[in-house]
Symmetry: C2
Subunit: 358 residues, 2 copies
DNA sequence: CTGAAAGCGCTTACAG
DNA sequence: CTGAAAGCGCTTACAG
């Protein structure tokens, strides 16, 4: 007796009835295991035909409950509304679907408790794997998941308990800094005392790696990095604005070049300049560790680093697809340095194209 | 005999064993239905204690399979990387979780086949409901879902087969246009022949509503809308750039005001001006039907309309929570017009705050 | 080549 | 107040 609340779903029993065969046979045909069961081509075909006619779709809940594998893959991510994370989420879903997996992405705003709660919820739906993108405590999450034999993988922020795929922040920062120096030199502008680094927290893995790249590029250009010029004041735009403002006040002059640690920090610097010195927007050389299509119109000289999301996700799914599973290890992907207008316009054009129907 | 592949999960049977009671009793206690079963407070407490100790978490797949309701709610959305849709996705997940539902958002890039495939996939996991945000064919999706008794609801783009929640594009456009006119009048600038509308497709519901608001606001200001000034040239930035360029060439002068139909179109116009007439960026009055925190630094006078995502999602969940279910109907939410720097900075500050840890 | 039976972890009448 | 049994729609040995 069917449950009165049940939805009108075609099951393998309905098909078996119509085909005059058993549910096991129908199940085997419809889930692909029929080859190993040596079911006759003929029977398989008629079953498939009937299934089509009846509009059969397997009930994944039942399949998952029985076979332990749910074919769902979860991902937590700090936010959607951001060039970088937005691209990660979109690409993740694409690749997951290409593998017949149901992607389940969830935005957890870098709130540790929300991250854990979300992971637990995903586990209770028996996801096969969880991707931690930019998670605040990837190792804590890995521990919970391991207790249920669910593997995890870290993206963007590394952990020690699972494989991690991140951008190479050191080389990205090094190259961006070097590009700004090359341009300053070409323009015969002195940058030795006037090259700022703005934004981020020195205790963050990322910021510290970027500062290291910044320093090394300056040192390799034969100069001595000025420690007072490194303003790792946090991420908020208001903080960058304040730090930049204080710096200008103390030196009494505009910097030649500014390395800005994120789009958010860039907003703060731009806001200050738009308010107090619009002209400087066209003379300062900016380097942004982040990419935003609007930012390009703001300043005459804005170089930028764009993290290579495609390469990162390719690497991640390579790890996921690998059998036997990978040990925890750190994979670093080279980000892309966009150092002149032509490259930027090419990037913009491709983004615009994909957003043409936005 | 437990399946060798099964995950180490604590079940109600394990708990029943430890508590010396039956699985039904444990199940009732742990899913809240014990009150109606009049299970003794005492027993309930010890069961809950044991469950806690053993780290029990219900298997939602099993629960869903048996009880038909999966407590999953799906949402398809065109993209993540966008102030508007990003906010929708984040807010949707928040509200869904607050109701104990598992949100499942999926980005379907406005590709009709991908939308359908994704919806079918969600159905095969027995989602309880599907939200179609900005879907290209909401009625087609509604039809498929209705066949399985799964209700849908439309957001952003309306349909006829399910309740729809959208922004009031007409009043938004009207108010934005009126604000620009008021400003032009205050500045003693003539706008009658020099007020452009750029971007969008006249056949789109949205664009046509916005054009209607644009025209009416102009008419109500005592002027005659100039049809040649309505450049509904499509959404791509390159198209706006070309249309704007052609218009300037034909008239030989800069417009007083420009109503731009989206951030993407705004990019095209800004790109042209940044290239050929930077000064005009500070004299033209811009109105953008969309909000972007970077855009504000671009132009001296940029008014903007921001869709009220919070209000839209509140309205949507009100429909979802309502019992009995709503008939298909159209709910229009007033968007917010941001017409001076102070308001804009307040918006920006709140966004910055929420992105402080980005 | 194929079917009957058991079981995944729950919920839901039903019977005490 | 509580337990035994059936069943959600599948898959998976097992037995022919």
């Amino acid at each position: 007796m069917p449950d009165s609340a049940s939805r009108k779903q075609v099951t393998i029993y309905d098909i078996a009835d119509r085909a005059g065969t058993s549910a096991s046979t129908v199940g085997a045909v419809l889930n692909g295991s029929w080859r190993t069961r040596r079911i006759s081509e003929n029977r398989a075909n008629t079953i498939r035909k009937i299934a089509n006619e009846m509009g059969y779709a397997p009930n994944m809940q039942a399949r998952a409950l029985r076979s332990v594998r749910s074919r769902m893959i979860g991902m937590i991510i700090p936010m959607y509304d951001n060039r970088y994370f937005g691209a990660i989420a979109e690409r993740f879903e694409l690749e997951a679907r290409a593998r017949g997996l149901l992607p389940m992405t969830s935005c957890t705003r870098r709130e540790p408790e929300l991250e854990l709660a979300t992971v637990r919820q995903m586990l209770s739906y028996n996801v096969d794997r969880i991707v931690c993108a930019g998670a605040s405590d990837p190792d804590g999450i890995a521990r919970i998941c391991q207790a249920q034999d669910v593997p995890t993988i870290n993206l963007d922020l590394p952990g020690t308990a699972a494989p991690s795929i991140i951008s190479n922040n050191y080389t990205g920062a090094y190259k961006l800094t070097a590009a700004l120096i090359a341009r300053a030199d070409a323009d015969n502008r002195d940058w030795h005392e006037d090259f700022l680094f703005v934004g981020g927290r020195p205790t963050d893995h990322y910021t510290s790696e970027r500062i290291r790249g910044f320093r090394d590029a300056i040192a390799d250009a034969g100069a001595v990095p000025v420690e007072d010029n490194i303003l790792a004041c946090g991420y908020a735009a208001a903080k960058s604005k304040a730090a930049f403002s204080a710096k200008i006040e103390s030196t009494g002059r505009m910097p030649t070049a500014v390395f800005v640690n994120s789009t958010i920090s860039l907003e703060g610097v731009f806001e200050w300049l738009a308010q107090y010195d619009r002209a400087a927007l066209d003379t300062i050389l900016f380097g942004s560790f982040d990419w935003d299509p609007f930012a390009q119109y703001m300043a005459q000289n804005l170089f930028s680093v764009r993290q290579d999301v495609s390469a990162m996700l390719d690497a991640m799914f390579q790890v996921i697809d690998s059998d036997p599973p990978h040990d925890p290890k750190l994979i670093q992907i080279e980000p892309i340095v966009i150092s002149d207008g032509a490259e930027w316009h090419a990037e913009t054009a491709s983004v615009m194209k994909s957003e043409a129907h936005a």
